[in-house]
């Protein structure tokens, strides 16, 4: 597991779900399971941009693209643009 993925898991558990007893992995459904709601997606998206050093263009991401940690990184790889370019 890459360092970025582990950082994202830690961020979601610590700052979004805010419950250290909840265990998630790269394939845990987050939005569809109700663990996080759509208001939290923006925080995750900003963190994802920082971790992947990309900017994700507005309008290119839907909640279903962010349902798992795996999907988040796949989304960044698909639509993210390198920063400062």
């Amino acid at each position: 597991m890459s360092e970025q993925i582990q950082k994202m898991i830690d961020f979601v558990v610590r700052d979004v779900i805010r419950n250290q007893n909840v265990q998630i992995d790269v394939n845990t459904p987050l939005v569809s399971s109700g663990l996080i709601d759509s208001f939290a997606l923006v925080d995750i998206l900003l963190t994802l941009e920082d971790l992947t050093n990309t900017r994700i263009p507005a309008g290119k991401v839907q909640a279903k693209d962010m349902d798992t940690i795996s999907l988040m990184f796949a989304t960044a790889a698909r639509v993210g643009k390198p920063r400062n370019v």
């Binding site: 109700g34 309008g59 909640a63």
Partner: protein
């Protein structure tokens, strides 16, 4: 009519008999709606083309036998196609209603049941779903045999029936907008063409609307603020509106100031929480890149207006050329078409008063105090009544209160609902002679209304109303939860600028507590799927924890207080109400 420097005059909605008539009079070449999806996906439509698209939809409905007064449900994503279908339904003589488009996490069986509930209540003749409506979900939809289920068809041929389009009359029903509740239990409010046009005529002077105004919106069209302020208002006054979907905005909130900046929008409405969301979730370097100088009124509406949220927004966007008085406020509801009050948009923003907290809580009175008084808190005005609207504050015995008295807000308006569709029981609860009982609590000072909360236990999250009963029912349906022993309530979250949902539920057996994590996750998932809302905190308690009233129902306020005593982190923020 308002004349502007350019000499253009604002339309008087009362010169029209119906909403389609207002559309018919619009200049064909003027831009009406712009739907922004992403940088490379923007759709704009001029009034002339929109009229044509609405006519095509009218043909679609007429070809399906729609005639006077038949109800049409629209389940389509936010966009110009939905707007054209809505007006097309009116043109065909039907009465449209917009429902929320299902999200990807919806449970097909439960969604179908909810849709059937609304459809049956409204006696819908046709349900139109969007072109992208999932096939899997479509296969699950089970509607009455008398209801036609159709997929939206763009570019429907405009056929010879055009000449047969029936002239609507002012008092004919124009459309239905829904008040709060889960899908199956929503309260339908039927509005006539005359009521909508009259309401807009009353609202325009309070907004100091001009022909140069341009509206921005991410508000859903199934919500009165989105439907009336950001669709009907620009349609009737022939103004441009720039839109995006609520989900696109909430995922990337910077798009809102960017669109206002790029399109030079002058008016927008948002619920209170959005101000904090925009202040905290948009990067500082991005905020500084926007030019919000065109925005003459950003109106805070549909949940209690918070001084702290407004200040935070003003501070965060001070570098974006935001006009110092751009933040305004309003109070409204679907039952009155939309607005009841509006702050003076030409003044220095809504009035703010500092209230003695102890007297407010103990004596239900708003007594002004000096800054620095211990326990004092600030309340923001929602402004004065718009034209032809009156507000009174009643105590629990129904007596009118003097200025400063805190009680239920009741409203007299020419554009009040006649009743909820097929719900005489609910109608009887809210209509009191000529007055509408809002269920909201507030007070009046210097003829300005200050709304401070709800009389009932309704929870308002990000401007949307949720009944605790709906959440409790879902929780109690979990096999580990004791029947009827769950209590949901709202708690103001200062960091979010809106309420969050807290749930406390009693397990059937103490041994179930060992499995709390799984039970919590399953309840969260069920509530999220059925209501599209997250629960902030779930507390599972052993048998006999929940306190019931003498009527055998969980006593919500008692259980709330009991939970707060056990969990000090749930104490209300000091200085909030």
């Amino acid at each position: 009519m308002n004349a502007t420097a350019s000499g253009a005059r604002l339309i008087d909605p009362l010169t029209y008999h119906t909403i389609p008539e207002a559309l018919h009079a619009a200049p064909s070449e003027d831009i009406f709606a712009t739907m922004w999806t992403s940088e490379d996906e923007v759709e704009s439509v001029r009034f002339g083309e929109f009229r044509h698209r609405a006519l095509a939809q009218a043909c679609f409905f007429r070809d399906r036998g729609i005639n006077d007064g038949q109800r049409i449900l629209l389940v389509m994503p936010q966009g110009i196609a939905l707007m054209a279908a809505f007006v097309g339904a009116m043109l065909a003589g039907g009465v449209p209603a917009i429902l929320a488009y299902p999200n990807f996490k919806v449970d097909a069986t439960k969604y179908s049941l909810g849709l059937r509930g609304v459809s049956t209540n409204l006696k819908a003749s046709v349900i139109v779903v969007g072109q992208e409506f999932p096939d899997g979900l479509m296969g699950h939809l089970n509607v009455e045999r008398t209801t036609q289920l159709e997929r939206f068809q763009d570019h429907y041929p405009v056929n010879s029936f055009i000449s047969e389009i029936r002239e609507r009359r002012p008092n004919d029903l124009a459309f239905i907008q829904h008040s709060s509740g889960t899908t199956g239990l929503q309260k339908g409010v039927a509005l006539s063409h005359a009521a909508v046009l009259k309401h807009l005529a009353h609202l325009a002077p309070s907004l100091k609307l001009t022909p140069e105004d341009r509206i921005y919106s991410w508000l859903p069209l199934y919500h009165d603020m989105g439907l009336i302020a950001c669709f009907m208002l620009p349609l009737v006054f022939h103004l441009p509106v720039v839109m995006q979907s609520p989900s696109a905005w909430v995922t990337q909130p910077a798009t809102m100031p960017k669109l206002i900046s790029d399109y030079r929008c002058s008016l927008a409405w948002v619920p209170n929480f959005a101000l904090q969301f925009l202040a905290r979730r948009v990067r500082a370097e991005d905020r500084a890149s926007f030019d919000l100088s065109s925005l003459r009124a950003l109106i805070n509406c549909s949940e209690p207006v918070r001084d702290s949220s407004m200040e935070e927004f003003l501070s965060a966007y001070s570098g974006a050329r935001l006009r110092p008085h751009a933040l305004q406020s309003s109070y409204g509801m679907a039952e009155l078409v939309f607005a009841v009050t509006q702050s003076d948009v030409s003044s220095s923003g809504p009035s703010r008063v500092l209230i003695d907290g102890a007297i407010f809580r103990k004596e239900n009175r708003a007594v002004l105090v000096r800054p620095g008084t211990p326990g004092a808190f600030c309340v923001v005005s929602s402004g004065r009544c718009i034209e032809n609207t009156k507000v009174r504050i009643l105590d629990s015995d129904g007596n009118a209160l003097a200025p400063g008295g805190v009680g239920e807000i009741v409203i007299h308006s020419e554009t009040r609902l006649e009743g909820y569709i097929n719900r005489p029981d609910l109608t009887a609860k809210v209509l009191d002679g000529e007055w509408y009982r809002s269920g909201d609590l507030g007070f009046v000072l210097d003829e300005e209304l200050y709304a401070v909360g709800r009389k009932s236990d309704i929870i308002i999250v990000a401007g949307e109303n949720f009944y605790p009963e709906d959440i409790e029912e879902i929780a109690a349906s979990h096999p580990a939860i004791h029947d009827g022993r769950a209590v949901a309530f709202g708690r103001y979250n200062r960091a979010l600028g809106t309420q969050e949902i807290i749930l406390v539920a009693e397990v059937r057996s103490e041994s179930d507590l060992a499995n709390s994590g799984v039970i919590e996750r399953e309840i969260r998932s069920a509530v999220s799927t059925e209501m599209n809302i997250g629960i902030a905190s779930i507390f599972l308690k052993p048998p006999l924890w929940i306190v019931k009233s003498t009527a055998g129902k969980p006593a919500r306020s008692t259980n709330r207080e009991k939970l707060i005593l056990e969990h000090v982190e749930l104490q209300p923020d000091s200085g909030s109400f």
